[in-house]
Symmetry: none
Subunit: 199 residues, 4 copies
Amino acid sequence: MGRRRNPDRQRQILDTARRLFGSRGYHATQIADIAESLQIGHGTVYRYFSNKRDIYEQVFDEVVAQYAAALTHEAPGQANSLEEYEAQLRRISATLTALFGEGPEGLRLTLQAQTIDDAMRERFQCAMSAFSAVSAMRLQNGIAKGFLRADLDAIATADLLLSATFEAVRKTAEASDPAAAGIRYLEASIGLFIRGVRA
Amino acid sequence: MGRRRNPDRQRQILDTARRLFGSRGYHATQIADIAESLQIGHGTVYRYFSNKRDIYEQVFDEVVAQYAAALTHEAPGQANSLEEYEAQLRRISATLTALFGEGPEGLRLTLQAQTIDDAMRERFQCAMSAFSAVSAMRLQNGIAKGFLRADLDAIATADLLLSATFEAVRKTAEASDPAAAGIRYLEASIGLFIRGVRA
Amino acid sequence: MGRRRNPDRQRQILDTARRLFGSRGYHATQIADIAESLQIGHGTVYRYFSNKRDIYEQVFDEVVAQYAAALTHEAPGQANSLEEYEAQLRRISATLTALFGEGPEGLRLTLQAQTIDDAMRERFQCAMSAFSAVSAMRLQNGIAKGFLRADLDAIATADLLLSATFEAVRKTAEASDPAAAGIRYLEASIGLFIRGVRA
Amino acid sequence: MGRRRNPDRQRQILDTARRLFGSRGYHATQIADIAESLQIGHGTVYRYFSNKRDIYEQVFDEVVAQYAAALTHEAPGQANSLEEYEAQLRRISATLTALFGEGPEGLRLTLQAQTIDDAMRERFQCAMSAFSAVSAMRLQNGIAKGFLRADLDAIATADLLLSATFEAVRKTAEASDPAAAGIRYLEASIGLFIRGVRA
DNA sequence: AATGAATGAGTTTTCATTCAT
DNA sequence: AATGAATGAAAACTCATTCAT
């Protein structure tokens, strides 16, 4: 492949791929679509990536890393009261919503990992488990400190919280007025979760 | 002279397609895979369906119809107290879990509608909106009758409940011990929702 | 193939094949179309013919035989004057028109021999040459007897007469009022030929 | 980013398709045959044409346009005497013969339009009617000006002339010595027509 | 004898990938 | 380095033919 001369190009390709894979889907997006969208020759794409799957993999990794950053930025043991836990949830939601402000592609995109090959399926499962585990640790911390209810099933509840959080982000990104939708879904989810898990 | 004499074949193909489209994905599943899985020639598939997309469409419709049946079986205005609402939620969860007892394919499968073509994308959006609307009506009923909190954002909350419910079903279907997981996710979600929405 | 039990069936299949091959074309006509048109199972067709090409071959032979009968019924040396030659032409035209009264399929059908395989292409060429040769002999007879012009190129003119005769038959068969069209094309062609070839 | 950079390729494919569709027939010619004949990959064909039918359609249009140019080049009202009409016929024949000097494919090819689909069948009928109409106008002109016989059925005779003209061209193109055959068929047809139609 | 479900060889068509310019 | 023409493996789809009932 030689040296990669233009570092912007790589970035542009990843961004475009993220947008197209996310909106149309991996299989419905051709390399030529990505190239055309950037007004470059489609052969050029192969100077920066070895194949289509490679592009997907890098996009997937970036999206997952962004989720991970948003979800793990707040150390699980940090919150000492319900108020602090709520503030944590609000910060996480805000970060996710900001990340996916451009559109709902990121979330759809990761789900498609399951339709690519066994290796990607595996990586997807793994990432989701990790997110869930962090969320569960946050709940465990609250139970231990007594501000979340003692009978809470941390693991199962973490999955539910995570899925609802993603849904809130997705709906926000899809909305015609994302700012308003963001507030609405944020309040609805905080209102639901805090009442649902507090001691 | 009649067409399609063997109704079992059609059923078998739909079931196999549902399983494969759900697990490997639509694009990763070839007509030949479906045929091979049934130990029939691939030409046979075309005696029962006009093309691959036609198979997907019928599978999609069946899955959506099953969701719809589970979600709408309970009339939205039926519940008159929090206890009745909880019982409703439990029945819905039980029905969904039973439906997807065989595996988590159904849910994954419907998401893929978005990667097939614009028409399927449209149908998917439409189905999801309908489910959400029914869920929201159930919440509105509770607010009107005073057993759910007055400040509840019925529409946004309905989306969150729906997504968490699907997640619970999915996790249950995927679990190594579905029976145990079912009870666990059911209790976790009921515990979360009821506290989250009650007056 | 065993015994062919129902001789009518064979006839019906040939007639239907002639109609469909002629109107839609050989390749655009499926065995199933022929069977459906007769309200029989398409497997039944194979009790009477060994394959699709075999049906075509028999239909082709029948059509060619009918042409041949019409064109050769009148012995080439029979006519002794222009009036007798004209009467001959009229009888030939009448016979052909009667044969193809049902429709213009016959003529179109034979042309398709060229798109089936080399062997059929060969047979087609051969049949056309034979027709042309008979027509040329008729002209030679007239030249020899002095009622056709001496400078006539019998071979080339025979080809032209033949093609125009077929065109007249085709147009007649296609017309909305075949009886009227038949008279019209007959008079036009006789008017043209007789003046064109007489001494 | 532009499409179809190599205009020669498109031309080569059209020429090869014309030759093969004309000689073997549309259905007996595979895309792979066209590609192989040009020593290119069969995928390449699809860079220039969207599908097989599209190639046929373009070839058909070209052939029909060539006929049309030859037949309509001479304005129908131009001839003022039998000599001028004869000269017109000779020029038309010469043009057609020159066009189909390469071989008899063009004529056979157009006939196959009837075996492709209803739309092509329609276009074929339409083109033939137009040719016939122009030929008829030429005859009407001669009748009006008195150098063709008054009792001539212009419409019917035009069909006969057209079919015989095509036959002459076809025979010429097929002949082992096209130059000699061309003169022979030209003289035979002029000799027949002029005598057949003059006043 | 008749049937039509099943079959798979044979085509068309797509699109990721290569490579000469 | 960038390009896009060319490629061909792979997948969808068709339909003549077979054969169990």
